[in-house]
Subunit: 424 residues, 2 copies
């Protein structure tokens, strides 16, 4: 089964919007075992859109068309689909009612052109909207096979708004595609998120397991490098039922967690900051941070988590050395150093009335500081009676050094909290 | 002149990397007055890559191929170009020398397959690398015109690494394309960056000017909405010489600055934080901030600017109310309020030993706080003898409210600094 993606919109070609939808769809298709060999961007032009759809159908069994379903004259996807199918657009009375009802429930006057969204190519079926106004479409197309025999191909139209598109893809497009592929089983994926080892390091740890899975075919593993979000390891299992596939994934997760240990900080959408906020909550600790080169990034990440206020007291951004000395009580001397990082952690805990203190000091660059090169970073931790620090040497430009310093600090705290949890 | 973009790499189709290169190229082509009607992603497969290139050449005069120029077996762009051109690959002795020299200057052993990067389709010319190892290529292709007559089209190959690609595109590809288009003049663009009005608001302010430019044809304006980076207004002028085009752009910039006033915070790559750090430096002020819902984002943005330490003393992330009361001296009471924001600004200035204090307090959501709905934000400013605050009501989810609160606060300070500068 081959499925292409066609993203529609002149703004995509002009670079005003980056087409992230095709990438997202490509990832989901791959997980479902469906090949996607070409992805095309085309502007809001009926001739070129129609040509792009025909071209894609000639090469593949199915096409997901993304965007161009809005109510304006620029939104040409419905007309292009009708042309490719060789049918007329007909106004669907149920959709008309739905759109009218939506506007009146919001007490808004409905512009007449909004009814264009109720136009459907004859023979198409509708993917209901749950998050916006434009319905999606499933359009079967009669096509000529390699020996002139008739074959059925299919066009799916989904909105360009990412969260509307994603919902329709998961709910309607992927199940329909898999049914057409004769793939009646279920597919379940889970992503383990790791921090602290390279992609090749993870591959080395997991090679025997990957070889075993290759032999048994019970599940597949894929690595996704995700920059400051770490490296993701995705487990995918196919089985006759959802329950069975889920059981396989869960068993595999347990095996991988044994092999990877504390490198795994979360699953699926769980970020590093979720992990740490949750560990702090479980342990009943409160946290205060002191930041130098990161300028507030540690606080900003931790407070991404709704409810962080239960454990996060606050932070001191001690960018000027005098703030380190006067407010945090760091002894005068070089501020890019282990003693400074430790004193900052102790100071943050005291000044902010927290019971754990985390601190980071270092050189973001581009210039050297205190005789230290850019990328030199000390993380300090005040945890109970223990005051420790760690030197990390980070690659990259100013922005990367700051981001990596942030996650390195948060990850150090995570490891300490895990150790405490284990010690009981 | 029509030019398509073909981005090469299986990782693009799988969604492991988002193809931002094509968007960037699309933007640059549009600025140069070159149409780009299709952009295609294709995997590391010689048959499909060759087919994609032929297809693109059939529809357009030129194609930029991005990626697949590395030294590994997956890097197939050179072979595909030779196929489409109907020629052989020949090893270029100068390139061999260059690649050898680069490895030996870094004291690294050169893997033999690196010499594949010296292979060039016969008849192609080389775009020198200034930032990496893979050279780019300009490949003329004989093609058949609509009436069977021979026409010359062109394929450009550039690396997939964005900063290598961008350099080659600006330095070699765009000038060559414009020469082929018979476009001998120069094009100069400049982007004015604005904050504080909507796209439709800006359009209204500029309508008479846009109408005038439409009549005179001296320059064109384009709007680019850029989320928390504000809205960009790009001026583009074409003229016989670079000098002349630049003079037109500069004259137009002056007209636009008159119309937009302080909405303009910078030009081209200048961010809001650059503007404020620079204004603080000129005025000889130092800044201390106090942040609540933004959790450190204001400090993190300001310290994005190298050299921020000259003006930025630091920040207090007073996430817990007690930190506001005890460290910053905010009077007990509702902390999402104008008096709290003002007291935070005064407290930040005092505690951090700065002469300007900026503070932000509010509700990021998803829950209400102190009887206030998510999006309710107070910005406080302590500036000389003046202590003021401003209520802003922001739309969107937690992440957007935090980001908009950050830029709203920094922008408020910018306006105060501009007023001071003007008062002399």
């Amino acid at each position: 089964m081959r499925c292409e993606v066609v993203a529609v919109g002149t703004e995509l070609l002009l670079g005003q919007i980056v087409d992230t939808n095709s990438s997202w769809i490509g990832d989901r298709l791959a997980s479902a075992g469906i090949d996607s060999f070409f992805q095309t961007k085309v502007g809001d032009n009926i001739e070129r859109l129609t040509a792009a759809l025909r071209q894609a159908l000639a090469r593949s069994d199915a096409v997901v068309v993304c965007g161009g379903l809005g109510p304006t004259q620029d939104d040409l996807t419905r007309s292009a689909l009708a042309r490719v199918m060789g049918v007329e657009l007909v106004r669907d009375p149920d959709l008309v009612e739905l759109i009218r009802a939506m506007f009146s429930s919001r007490n808004r006057r409905m512009p007449a052109n909004n009814l264009a969204q109720a136009d459907v190519p004859e023979g198409a079926s509708i993917i209901e909207q749950t998050r916006g106004t434009a319905p999606g479409l499933i359009c079967p197309v009669r096509w000529e096979g390699p020996d002139g025999e008739p074959v059925e191909k299919v066009l799916y139209a989904v909105p360009g708004v990412p969260y509307e598109m994603q919902d329709m893809l998961e709910r309607a497009v992927l199940p329909d595609l898999r049914r057409r592929a004769g793939d009646t089983g279920a597919i379940v994926s889970r992503t383990l998120r790791t921090w602290g080892d390279s992609e090749s390091g993870l591959a080395e740890r997991l090679t025997p397991r990957i070889d075993e899975l290759d032999r048994t075919g019970t599940a597949t593993l894929a690595f996704l490098a995700s920059g400051i979000e770490g490296i993701k390891v995705r487990v995918t299992a196919k089985a006759a039922t959802e329950q069975e596939a889920l059981a396989t994934v869960e068993a595999e997760e347990a095996v991988l967690r044994d092999l990877l240990g504390d490198l795994v900080f979360g699953v699926d959408d769980e970020t590093m900051e979720h992990a740490v906020v949750s560990l702090l909550g479980t342990a009943g600790h409160t946290l205060g941070v002191a930041e130098s080169l990161t300028g507030g990034l540690i606080g900003a990440r931790l407070t991404n988590v709704p409810g962080a206020s239960r454990v996060f007291r606050g932070g001191i951004v001690s960018y000027a050395s005098e703030v380190k000395f006067e407010l945090l009580g760091v002894p005068e001397g070089p501020v890019v150093s282990a003693p400074a990082a430790e004193a900052m952690a102790v100071g943050a805990r005291r000044v902010l009335g927290a019971d754990v203190g985390l601190a980071v000091t270092g050189v973001a660059g581009p210039d050297w500081q205190d005789g230290e090169r850019p990328g030199t970073v000390y993380v300090g931790l005040a945890f109970g009676d223990e005051v420790t620090s760690q030197l990390v040497v980070l690659p990259g430009d100013r922005e990367r050094v700051r981001q990596f310093a942030t996650i390195s600090a948060v990850d150090l705290l995570r490891h300490r909290l895990l150790a405490e949890q284990r010690a009981g």
